[in-house]
Amino acid sequence: MRLRPIAGIFLRQLYLFRSSPVRILPTFAWVAIDIVVWGFLTRYLNTVAGTQINFVPSLLGAVLFWDFFTRIMQGVTTAFFEDVWSRNFLNLFATPLSISEYVTGLVLTSIVTSIAGLAVMLVLATVVFGLSFGALGLMLFPFILVLFLFGIALGVFASAIVLRLGPASEWLVWPMPAMLSPFVGVYYPLATLPAWMRAVGHLLPPSYVFEGMRALVHGEPFSGTALLLGGGLALLEMLLAGYFFARVFRYTVRTGLLARYSAESVG
């Protein structure tokens, strides 16, 4: 893998951000709105529940983690969509650029935009609503790492879907995080779910993060093995997503889909 083409992919996104407030705003706005809405909701729940339960770390912390995961995933897909929207595939893939360089460039873009979003969320959640990560301690970092890896995996997988099915399938991608959220137990323990949903949840790495986070916040026993399993799953799923993207790319080159991509076809 060469560094300059990766820098090129990243620089292109930077140019777009620099010249367009429309692109910068969503990086902060939606996550900030989410934190504000859930911040006030947790305050209200705390007044209803009295002093017995503090909803801030479990609910607001979960929202923050989930929004971070969503930003990572959408950071990859949005960077990919820029090439879909500008019909740039022919220019891009008729160059020496390799698929791994291209995907790495997308991931790099996502890291930067997601960290910016995370910073805004952290400031709002801690300063305005008093969220503290004290209960999580150093476990905060592996939690974020697992969400990061799975966000990349889902972003790369979703991009491959759009590459295979055509530009209109972009509409399948936006609701993906929302479709997964019931299975990973963002706001409730997996035990709440029926058996089949729980089984799906166990295949999704964020489940292990949210279970672990709730255990630590409520002072219950925390399973490091389960988190390791989640991390391993996230890594495996990221590698599988990369493999899937490469397979789809080869398919589009073989069938001619890539060459006539802007003609938008499913077949």
């Binding site: 620089l11 292109r12 500008s86 022919l90 220019n91 020496p96 650029l97 069938t255 001619g256």
Partner: protein, 269 residues
């Protein structure tokens, strides 16, 4: 036109082609889909300092051939070598030696001229990129447009930017798919002069497609007539019409384009 009118390609290749360094070698190239054969066993080469015209009616297989050379469409069989490197086996190394401009592949309109050149320059791994960009901005008279977004440029300006991008990596092989299609006659003349200069001075071979036969006569050293996915004719565009008993290249083109598929197959044998 009778099939016997065509000279066998093999004879032409042996006799007429100058012994120059080959920048593009295409051998027995085929592309077929489920029920369609888009390109059927074509072989040709492009040499350094040579401009080769790839001609043919719509649907003849020109763009399919160019897409395969650019590595965005996999051949069903056959080989493509750019500067001696196989595109299928060593894609990145082969594509580093080529570049292209096509009327249907405009550069991202939301980036400025200079941003597009820097973006593609990094992807092609161009050394001393800043200086190369400045040189190309001068060469294609783009300096005053450097901070203008490509999406708002006129067709002629966009063509000049596409050509500047196509020369970023000093390609050994330059592919130009109808580069003057959307230009007025004066702008087209300017582009033709620039491209002839490139072939002469920059040591590259050029594969050019166009439907403008006057342009082809003016620019190309050699032409290949493609029809129904097969090469029917190859030769000097200035002498081919006379050799085949017609008045102009355009007339020859029209006759070849109207050949039914069976006659085309017979002629290409």
């Amino acid at each position: 036109m009778p099939a016997t009118l065509y000279r066998p390609l093999e004879q032409l290749s042996a006799v007429d082609q100058p012994k120059l360094a080959t920048v593009l070698g295409v051998a027995d190239l085929c592309k077929s889909y489920a029920h369609i054969v888009a390109v059927e066993r074509i072989s040709f080469s492009v040499h350094r300092n040579e401009i080769v015209g790839l001609l043919g009616p719509n649907g003849a297989g020109k763009t399919t051939t160019i897409n395969m050379i650019l590595g965005v469409l996999a051949p069903t069989s056959g080989s493509i070598r750019i500067g001696g490197i196989d595109v299928t086996k060593r894609r990145s190394q082969a594509l580093a030696r080529t570049n292209f401009a096509a009327v249907y592949a405009t550069l991202p309109g939301n980036l400025t001229v200079a941003q597009n050149l820097r973006f593609f320059g990094l992807i092609y791994g161009v050394a001393d990129l800043t200086r190369r960009i400045e040189t190309l901005l001068d060469q294609f008279d783009l300096r005053r447009l450097r901070n203008t977004r490509c999406g708002v440029l006129s067709s002629g300006e966009q063509t000049r930017v596409a050509l500047a991008k196509a020369l970023l990596n000093r390609p050994q092989l330059l592919l130009l798919d109808e580069p003057t299609a959307s230009l007025d006659p004066a702008a087209a003349q300017g582009v033709r002069e620039q491209i002839r200069g490139l072939a002469r001075e920059q040591d590259c071979g050029i594969l050019w497609t166009s439907h403008n036969m006057y342009e082809v006569e003016e620019v190309c050293d050699r032409v290949l007539f493609l029809s129904h996915g097969r090469i029917l004719l190859e030769g000097d565009p200035r002498t081919l019409p006379r050799e085949h008993g017609v008045r102009s290249l355009e007339e020859l083109f029209i006759q070849l384009a109207r050949e039914p598929l069976d006659a085309t197959r017979e002629a290409a044998k």
